[in-house]
């Protein structure tokens, strides 16, 4: 049986007090309750403080470029659908540099779990606005305040009918671990946007700020009802809903490729008999 210890204990490069620590804990718990062994899992990340998380897990890791975790993960999943592929990275990585891949992953409904550490800031590069930063936030890069409206990943995902859309908070670790387990169990693309205080650079959306606003969706909330999900997705400000906001059962991307129905591409033989026939059409 897999235990938390199997996923190791590493020194991190994070600031003391950062929300990333709790997310890391919750991820481990999610993996363990999902009964996933380290070698069965592949973590893919981009670049940023959040993106270092997979290095603090004893598992398979591909740590790629800033913003490009989703395509790497998609390629790996298509090559070997037996892998449990989890993408973990920051808000800047996924909604900023990687915005186009975020849209594409939702459209594909490829079976990946996407965990976004959403601290509403670019942490690693020292505090510029991220796509989720609030309008008016003042940083050194935005001395007159952020001029763009914040990106609402939940709203966009629900509008696009992503098959699993959830929000967690690093300060509610049990709840988050539960969400992660559900997300990992979900077949298809699962987004978990995790609110995460950045103690070094985001002095607005602090632990207390989130704590005061976050509430978990009631049991009677029906995440399969798109209309109410869309409404819930727009909630932000005084009250911020946590939980599975929307889910549906779309066919996964991998299922659409007839060749993948025979198992992973890895190690599959090259059929020279077939190739010979193909070449005949050129004759």
């Amino acid at each position: 049986m897999v235990t938390i210890e199997d996923y190791g204990k590493y020194e991190t490069a994070w600031c003391p007090g950062c929300g990333n620590f709790s997310i890391l804990d919750a991820v481990k718990r999610g993996l363990v309750t999902s009964e996933l062994e380290p070698h069965q899992v592949l973590f893919v990340s981009g670049i940023g403080q959040a993106a270092k998380a997979p290095h603090y897990l004893n598992t398979n890791v591909f740590n790629g470029l800033h913003g490009r975790a989703l395509p790497v993960a998609s390629g790996a999943k298509l090559a070997n659908p037996n892998l449990k592929v989890i993408v973990e990275s920051g808000d800047g990585c996924n909604y900023g540099e990687g915005g186009n891949h975020f849209l594409a992953a939702i459209r594909r409904n490829i079976d990946l779990t996407l965990i976004v550490h959403d601290n509403q800031i670019y942490g690693l590069t020292k505090g510029q606005a991220s796509p989720t930063s609030e309008e008016g936030l003042i940083t050194k890069a935005q001395p007159e305040g952020v001029a763009s409206a914040p990106f609402n990943p939940i709203a966009v995902a629900v509008a696009m009918q992503a098959s699993f859309v959830a929000r967690g908070f690093s300060g509610m670790i049990d709840h988050l671990a539960g969400l992660l387990k559900e997300a990992m169990a979900h077949e298809g693309f699962a987004l978990i946007d995790v609110l995460q205080p950045c103690v070094s650079f985001n002095k607005v959306n602090t632990f207390a700020w989130y704590k005061k606003r976050c509430y978990t969706l009631p049991d009677e909330y029906d995440p399969t009802d798109w209309r109410s999900a869309m409404q819930t997705a727009m909630e932000w400000g005084d009250k911020i809903p946590l939980g599975i906001i929307y889910r549906n059962q779309r066919t996964t991307f991998e299922k659409r490729f007839s060749v993948l129905q025979q198992g992973p591409l890895i190690g599959r033989d090259t059929d020279f008999g077939e190739l010979k026939k193909i070449l005949e059409k050129f004759a």
Binding site: I47, F62, G64, L65, R68, L78, A79, N80, L265, F282
Partner: protein, 560 residues
């Protein structure tokens, strides 16, 4: 003297079915045993404009296009106007009444009378077949192969029209000599550069292709997609080129040989990914099908101007290999070779082709599939020493590769500088060791370089040096120059990086005059040769107007 070498040029608007006509003719000619070489020229539009499909056909092997036209098949009036001047002495124009009756040496075809407008290309097929001396049953078979499976009624209709056209043309007296029959026709395929790359990659065991459509690279992916079900591979159109290269890296990391076809502008978006492949030591084959730039340039024309860009693409330093096939056959073999080198040395490898070669169908001797094997993917099934370290230091610089999820060992890889275990490091002594480990792989790559192919005199008065698709024209130009009693040698680089001076420098030094022939304005191979050897070529023949280099062009430029 019999005319054994004929160039025919079909011209018309996009949408008139002239590519179909050209392909059917090409097939029929090859079935009849002739050698052919196709040059396609088209505009960046779907209908209208002016496109051409030229076939040079001969009883002997054809290696290059020719500028003069013996048979001009005009599907519209514009074609006559634009190409009349190219028609050689003794040449013939085949046109509709409406298109060029006034011209001498014109065979006026009553298209309306022989078939409905949408079958004009089949009429032309019949007429031209008669002019060239092709057998009707043979041409009918090509036509059947093409339409037969799709729609029987259509096939029947086509056959009727073909017969009508044959009959009509048989009754004309035309001053155009038929091609002599080929004594012993050997069986050959009709294949273009992109098809050959796709087939070569399939034979090597490629299992993943991600791409974003871009002329002239798209058809590589389309050819793979058409066989994905049968050959067991995934072909995915990505949301952009950045996704394409990163997907391929992901698939390759997970364990399957991957290919990414693109062209200059799309490739530009991939350069960060190239650097990631270099750092993470992930094999990936990137095919760059060149077209004239900068920016969107001339999207449907040809050029050889991305050599330096590809060679230096990606920030930071890491080894790579760049292949540049000169023929359709080389497209096939070098697609295999490049996948092999990528797997063996675990990094990005490039295949540089261009629009001319991509679209140039030729008669190709069938590959000996029975004696081929897929390439060695270079993957171990267990760790030879523990703990398994993805970036173990080795004398060759190549570290044993396991796959994630395929053993109990964990595989950690990425784009940050790393110790052997693949995790993060800020230890600068590790940095030095890792740079040197990666660089050592270059020695292995060098050991496997395909040497440039030398032909002709060993100590020539004139040495023509070239790379990629200009090969054939250089060979033919050399042949012609030899007739004029110059001692001429040629050297063709089908691998442009790494360069191994031992392979060619002596030949340069032994030549009277070294001329580099390239389809670009900077003389990129010439510069690279000087950088690597100090040798400055004496002169350069460059072309950058969007057209392929021809033997005539070379000879004209040498004359200047």
């Amino acid at each position: 003297m019999e005319k054994t070498d004929v160039t025919l040029l079909i011209g018309g608007e996009a949408g008139q079915g002239l590519v179909t006509l050209g392909q059917l003719l090409a097939k029929s000619l090859v079935h009849a045993g002739y050698s052919i070489l196709v040059t396609q020229s088209y505009q960046s539009r779907i209908r209208g404009g002016h496109n051409t499909f030229a076939i040079r056909v001969s009883t002997e092997a054809v290696v290059a296009p020719r500028e003069s036209v013996d048979l001009l098949i005009a599907m519209n009036a514009e074609t006559v106007t634009l190409h009349k001047a190219e028609v050689a002495d003794g040449g013939l124009i085949v046109a509709d009444e409406a298109h060029g009756t006034e011209t001498d040496g014109c065979l006026v075809v009553p298209y309306q009378q022989l078939g409905e407008t949408r079958f004009a290309n089949v009429v032309a097929l019949g007429v031209v077949s008669v002019l060239l001396g092709l057998d009707q049953p043979l041409v009918a078979r090509s036509l059947d192969d093409f339409f037969g499976k799709k729609d029987h009624e259509m096939a029947e209709k086509n056959r009727q029209i073909l017969t009508t056209a044959f009959d009509w043309c048989d009754q004309q007296t035309v001053a155009f000599e038929k091609l002599p029959p080929v004594a012993k026709p050997i069986q050959r395929m009709v294949m273009n550069g992109n098809e050959a790359i796709a087939m070569g990659a399939l034979s090597a065991g490629v299992k993943f292709c991600s791409f974003y459509p871009m002329t002239p690279a798209t058809s590589i992916a389309l050819n793979l997609a058409a066989q994905a079900g049968r050959m067991g591979l995934v072909v995915e159109q990505a949301e952009d080129e950045i996704a394409a290269i990163n997907m391929a890296i992901g698939a390759s990391f997970a364990g399957v040989p991957s290919i990414v076809p693109t062209s200059g502008g799309g490739f530009a978006l991939m350069t960060e990914g190239v650097s990631l492949a270099g750092m993470s030591e992930t094999p990936v084959l990137i095919v760059v099908a060149q077209r004239p730039g900068p920016a969107t340039g001339l999207p449907t024309r040809t050029e050889q101007a991305d050599l330096e860009f590809v060679l230096h693409s990606g920030h930071g330093e890491f080894p790579r290999a760049i292949f540049s096939p000169g023929t359709v056959e080389e497209c096939f073999w070098l697609a295999r070779k490049s996948l092999e080198v990528a797997a063996k040395f675990q990094g990005p490898v490039f295949l540089l082709t261009d629009q001319f070669l991509a679209d140039s169908s030729r008669a190709v001797t069938p590959f000996d599939i029975d004696n081929l094997e897929p390439i060695d993917p270079g993957i171990e099934t267990d760790a030879s020493s523990l703990p398994y370290s993805r970036y173990a230091i080795t004398p060759s610089g190549v570290s044993p590769r396991l796959l994630p999820g395929m053993t109990k060992h964990l595989v950690v890889a990425g784009g940050d500088e790393h110790p052997v275990d693949g995790h993060l490091t800020e230890d600068l002594s590790i940095r030095e060791v890792m740079v040197e480990k990666r660089m050592r792989k270059e020695q292995g790559i060098i050991a496997e370089v395909v040497p440039p192919e030398a032909q002709g005199d060993e100590r020539p008065d004139l040495l023509l040096v070239t790379w990629g698709s200009s090969k054939g024209s250089v060979l033919e130009a050399a042949d012609q120059l030899r007739n004029e009693t110059t001692r001429v040698g040629t050297l063709h680089f089908s691998q442009v990086w790494p360069l191994v001076p031992d392979h060619f420098l002596q030949r340069f030094q032994d030549a009277g005059k070294v001329v580099c022939v390239e389809g670009n304005a900077f003389g990129q191979l010439a510069r690279l040769i000087r950088r690597e050897t100090g040798f400055a070529v004496h002169s350069r023949v460059l072309r950058y107007d969007g057209l392929p280099i021809t033997p005539e062009y070379i000879i004209r430029e040498l004359g200047d």
